[in-house]
């Protein structure tokens, strides 16, 4: 998804994992995805470089749709849709 489109997304769930290092954000995402309905969007906020790579791969393995990542000031917003 293009950056401009990502910026218009209103996620149903935001996971703010900026205070934790790997694997904290991944685990926070794992815990949060359970409460989402299929088709809903989650954004994961993380300042961890490894997480930026991890979440898209995790989405592929788990069957969720990785929508893209926005680089903010000192952290990333990673978007995914639950499938």
């Amino acid at each position: 998804m293009e950056t401009t489109n990502l910026m218009t997304i209103v996620a149903e769930k935001t996971v703010d994992a900026r205070g934790t290092a790997c694997p904290g954000p991944l685990l926070e995402a794992k815990k949060a995805i359970g409460i989402l309905e299929i088709g809903q969007i989650m954004e994961v906020l993380s300042a961890d470089e490894g997480t930026r790579v991890d979440i898209p791969k995790w989405c592929t393995k788990q069957g969720h749709e990785y929508l893209g990542t926005l680089e903010e000031n000192g952290y990333y917003k990673i978007f995914l849709r639950k499938n």
């Binding site: 934790t20 790997c22 685990l27 815990k31 995790w58 393995k61």
Partner: protein
């Protein structure tokens, strides 16, 4: 579809290797893997009730001069302590901690009550071998 299985032989009772085991475990439960951890030798010492949460009782696996740096950096980075990783993995996924009967006895742990309450059972070596044979991933840490 059946979950993939990880079998981990946790030989080490060192702070850094226990932490690494916790990180790996976290990744595996995020992927919905079933995990069986077989706690061997010094690993069993770390699982003792009086030891697990007491960092002063645990050292580094090597380069012990970096122990304080390691602890301080983990704190700065908000990295969980090893036992917190283990407990969280168990809360999220299907994770079982099996204490080797011999290893427990080496450190005075004869009954499951002698170990952390999230340890599941005391087992013999055959259980570990069977789990290792059936696992998709097998690690020795």
């Amino acid at each position: 579809m059946e979950n993939k299985k990880m079998c981990m032989a946790l030989f080490s009772g060192s702070l850094d290797k226990l932490t690494a085991a916790g990180v790996i475990m976290s990744g595996a439960v995020a992927d919905d893997m079933d995990i069986d951890v077989y706690v061997l030798m010094q690993g069993a010492r770390a699982f003792l009730k009086d030891i697990a949460e007491n960092k002063d009782q645990l050292n580094m696996s090597e380069n012990v001069e970096y122990r304080e740096q390691f602890i301080a950096a983990c704190k700065d980075l908000n990295v969980k302590e090893w036992h917190q990783f283990f407990m969280e993995a168990k809360e999220i996924g299907n994770v079982k901690f099996h204490i080797c009967g011999l290893a427990g006895k080496l450190w005075g742990g004869n009954k499951i009550e002698d170990f952390v309450e999230w340890a599941d059972d005391i087992v013999g070596i055959s259980e570990y071998i069977t789990a290792a044979q059936n696992a998709d991933i097998h690690l020795f840490i």
